[in-house]
């Protein structure tokens, strides 16, 4: 446990404090307290830039479950640091913005900030973990916390729908990814990413290598909203705008990008990796931008735009991986794509973050986000207008904004695909620059729509809920900072190039570097009149034309009927799943506990019986058994009588007491066989459960003896005989054959020396097998909550109804 671990976990620790702060300081916006943390973390992480710039990495391991190779290894390299800075930096700005966005009177601020902090911690964990299982844990934690954030306004139907959708899709991908991780473990016997990378040459030909690759990409694609999994992202826009700005543009959705970048050293030698990543990426880029144009909701436009931009970064990473896949071509030829990916990642966070915040401001100050109602806001909100011009022009890839630089490099890298003839698919290769170019035209159009439909044109006050005015200064600070970065990064791109981008590239493409080597990144604003520049000019010309003629060609969106969209497919699949599982459940959930018991016992007999037969496990020997004394015999008889009484008793009270007598006799058995702990436990359990029965038995439905048909009784008889036989057989054969030495010796020898306890049972419970106990009490807790919920909610319903 080092300071670095504490830093990663600090959002979780801080999250515990938030509700108390909220309660204690009601008149101070909770966001002010929360704001401190990301700022501190940002400053903390900035210190590491020096280290990664020199090509060094930091790795601190805290043991978690070392016996399984699962350890919390905090690992900082260029890539991780870049993301950590994004998460904390954008996080700080978003929290500052949210302080003005969410009113402290109306909203449940404590839950909001707890979720946000959980998310921040989870995200830091994802990008700074070297161990796959730890990474996966944090990864699913991001899905969970984003589910909570999207559903923050849980009373709205759409919020719940969006939250569920995002969780179903991202967790589905996450589970597949876990499968991929486990395959990697099978191949390399290690969960450490760095160790896996070292073994890549040996495992590249393994049968599981490509399946692992595909499964891990599922995780990345679902998280980063790639085609066809992007459908959750637009619905996630139901979250409060600060959340959209943070999760759905700057951080969470980029976890998929991170994953692809992180695993590039492992997989990028494979052509499959290149093909899947770049082709899905480029198609998503086009599809997202194409669909963004038809949106009428400002956040909808931004959502699809995010989808598109993520696809763009993804495709660049894919093309960049060709640097490793191809030996024939000079390395530097494709590294430009990776460079562009990293650079655009940063740029996207800045301009998209500011745009989301701008949209939030418009929503906040006018009461709507519908572009059909907005217009002519320029004179009311000059500052907001300026920020959105900067953001949108950068998104469209125009100078003098940072988006221009990365967009040019994007074109460059797509053109480079043409030279890649080793796959013998030159004809397909030509599609890359063409799709990229068309996608960029649509990007240009929706960027213009976003700004000009909102701020210019006719002002329609009658359609707005509020009279628009400029946002309070606090709400403007964050977008202004981001917009300034957009411009600064254009004029001084190399500020980032040497400090952040080079180390990040070193993490993505480590094998291209020898010892003590660096990537030499130099980004220039002017790259001469080449094909890329002409493409950009084409984008501007056609884009402007497209924007003005939007009305004329909008009709193409109606060609694909609503029914055939992916969303409908998702809804239908969900509906079918719901329906068929309901049917299936109805089939076996009869509502009678005796049926359930019959299922359980039948399975019990079948599985254990088969195991006994297959393994030839039955043996019977009396050697080593203790003699049966008078006490044992008497107790056994009492138990048998008790059991029979339960079966034939006419009243429930008798049955309960008879059952109790069986339990007490059992505890006497424990006393006889010198197991005082078990005896005590059995005694207490019996007491409590008998009391519980006595307390509530008059709530139970009336005790009726129904005459059942004969075949029913026959099944019951068979089942009970079967269970009895199996249990007896197992008990006898377990006692007669010992495959290995008894483990009690170990506990006898070590419980005092290792755990300092003389009570072996207790030492086993709390120390040697403490993990079991932890889970057991968790299960107990959940069970009690279940009972509480079932009964209380039921009662409430009855009261209401």
């Amino acid at each position: 446990m080092t300071l670095l671990h504490v830093a990663i976990l600090s959002p979780f620790i801080f999250a515990i404090l938030v509700p108390f702060l909220y309660k204690r300081f009601r008149n101070i916006h909770t966001g002010w307290f929360v704001l401190v943390l990301p700022i501190l973390l940002f400053v903390y992480f900035v210190q590491f830039i020096d280290t990664t710039m020199n090509g060094d990495t930091i790795s601190n391991t805290a043991n978690w479950i070392p016996s399984l190779g699962i350890n919390f290894t905090a690992y900082i390299d260029g890539l991780g640091l870049l993301f950590a800075l994004l998460i904390t930096g954008i996080g700080a700005l978003v929290i500052l913005y949210s302080i003005y966005y969410l009113s402290k009177e109306k909203e449940q601020l404590n839950t909001f900030y707890v979720y946000l902090l959980l998310f921040m911690g989870a995200m830091l964990g994802v990008v700074l973990s070297d161990n796959l299982i730890v990474l996966y844990t944090f990864w699913e934690f991001t899905s969970l916390s984003s589910f909570l954030l999207i559903g923050y306004w849980y009373k709205r139907e759409k919020s719940r729908y969006g939250a569920q959708k995002s969780m179903l899709i991202t967790i589905f991908g996450g589970l597949l990814m876990l499968g991929g991780f486990i395959m990697l473990y099978i191949m390399t016997n290690s969960f450490s990413i760095r160790e896996i990378i070292e073994q890549v040459p040996e495992i590249a030909q393994h049968d599981l290598f490509v399946p692992a690759l595909v499964l891990i990409l599922f995780g990345a694609f679902t998280k980063s909203a790639q085609f066809p999994f992007y459908i959750w992202l637009p619905d996630a826009m139901e979250a409060p705008t600060p959340v959209s700005a943070y999760l759905h543009s700057a951080t969470m959705v980029k976890a998929g990008i991170y994953l692809v970048a992180r695993f590039s050293p492992v997989f990028s030698g494979e052509p499959e990796w290149f093909w899947i990543v770049s082709s899905f990426g480029i198609f998503t880029m086009f599809w997202g931008s194409f669909n963004a144009v038809k949106q009428t909701d400002l956040k909808g436009i931004l959502a699809f735009s995010t989808v598109s931009q993520l696809g763009m970064i993804m495709s660049m990473l894919g093309v960049g991986s060709a640097a490793l896949a191809l030996d024939a071509i000079d390395d530097s030829y494709y590294t430009v794509a990776t460079l562009a990916a990293v650079f655009h990642l940063i740029n996207h966070a800045t301009f998209k973050g500011s745009l989301f915040m701008v949209v939030g401001i418009i929503d906040h100050e006018t009461g709507t986000r519908d572009i059909r109602k907005l217009g002519g806001l320029m004179s009311f909100m000059p500052i907001t207008f300026t920020i959105s011009i900067i953001g949108a022009f950068s998104m469209a890839g125009l100078p003098p904004f940072n988006g221009f630089l990365s967009k040019e490099m994007f074109f460059t890298s797509m053109i480079r695909v043409l030279d890649m003839d080793v796959f013998n698919l030159e004809t397909l290769g030509i599609l890359f620059p063409i799709i990229a170019w068309i996608g960029s035209i649509f990007t240009f159009i929706y960027s213009m729509v976003l700004v000009f439909k909102t701020f210019t044109g006719k002002y329609q006050p009658e359609k707005l809920e509020k009279k628009p005015h400029e946002a309070p200064i606090g709400m403007l600070i964050s977008p202004i900072i981001l917009a300034s970065l957009v411009i600064i990064f254009f004029f001084f791109p190399n500020l980032l190039a040497y400090t952040i981008i080079e180390p990040a590239m070193a993490s993505i493409l480590p094998s291209l570097l020898g010892d003590e080597n660096h990537f030499h990144v130099h980004i220039s604003q002017w790259h001469g009149p080449n094909l890329e520049l002409y493409m950009t000019i084409g984008v501007i010309l056609l884009g402007t034309l497209g924007y003005y003629l939007l009305r004329k060609w909008r009709g193409i969106y109606r060609i694909v009927p609503e029914k055939l969209t992916l969303n409908k497919g998702y809804d239908a699949a969900l509906y079918q799943l719901d329906k068929s599982s309901f049917k299936l459940t109805r089939f076996y959930m009869t509502g009678f506990i005796r049926d359930y018991l019959a299922y359980i016992f039948t399975f019990f007999i079948v599985i254990l019986g088969t195991a006994l037969v297959v393994k030839d496990g039955f043996s019977f020997s009396l050697a080593g058994t203790a003699p049966i004394g008078i006490y044992e015999a008497v107790l056994a008889i009492v138990m048998v009588i008790g059991t029979i009484t339960v079966l034939f008793s006419k009243s429930r009270l008798t049955a309960i007491i008879a059952l109790g007598s069986v339990g007490y006799s059992l505890s006497l058995f424990f006393v006889l066989f010198r197991a005082p702990d078990l005896a005590l436990t059995q005694l207490c359990v019996e007491t409590v459960s008998v009391a519980l029965f006595l307390l509530c038995f008059y709530h139970l439905p009336e005790f009726k003896r129904k005459e059942k048909k004969l075949h029913f009784k026959l099944t019951n008889l068979l089942i009970s005989l079967g269970v009895g036989t199996i249990v007896t057989l197992i008990a006898l054969s377990a006692n007669s054959q010992r495959v290995s030495d008894t483990i009690s010796k170990y506990f006898i020898e070590n419980s005092y020396t290792l755990a300092g306890g003389k009570n072996m049972v207790n030492v086993i419970l709390v120390d040697f097998r403490g993990f079991d106990t932890l889970f057991e009490i968790t299960v107990l807790g959940i069970a009690s909550l279940g009972i509480y919920g079932m009964i209380r909610l039921h009662v409430k319903k009855e009261e209401e109804g």
Binding site: P66, T681, V688, D767, I777, G781, I787
Partner: protein, 140 residues
């Protein structure tokens, strides 16, 4: 169906304390002699159950205004934090340690972190048992 159970109630008042003290003894001595969090918890719970049987549920809830769900949560948290605490000493999750100290009255006593974990178990067991019994008992 209220019967006159004065003797039962009077005896209960005394016995409950004896049971609870005994259960605490069981809990603390668990590491050396039979006992521990699980049994101690059950024993404490059974003391409260005895109260429930002697008096009606409202009286007991008023005398012992404990939110058992919160108690369960606290117990779980204690157990979990004991586990996490081991990270700070750079040892695997849930590693326990112990040492001996001389306390003024009790003399040489061993202090084991396992007892902290057991405290979590103890609270969870009471919390769970009482949550179940109370929710079932309170519904009419």
């Amino acid at each position: 169906m209220k019967t006159n159970d004065l003797i039962f109630q009077t005896v209960t008042k005394v016995v409950v304390f004896i049971i609870i003290i005994y259960s605490l003894h069981l809990f603390f001595s668990g590491h050396y002699t039979p006992g521990g969090g699980f049994i101690g918890g059950l024993m404490t719970a059974s003391a409260i159950v005895l109260l429930l049987l002697a008096f009606d549920i409202k009286t007991v809830v008023n005398t012992l205004p404990i939110d058992y769900i919160k108690m369960t949560a606290t117990g779980l948290l204690i157990a979990l934090l004991t586990g996490i605490g081991s990270f700070f000493f750079d040892v695997p999750f849930l590693t326990h340690t112990f040492s001996y100290v001389d306390l003024p009255v009790l003399g040489k006593t061993s202090l084991a972190t396992a007892v902290l974990f057991d405290l979590g178990v103890y609270l969870v067991v009471i919390g769970v048992t009482m949550t179940i019994i109370q929710t079932i008992g309170e519904t009419e």
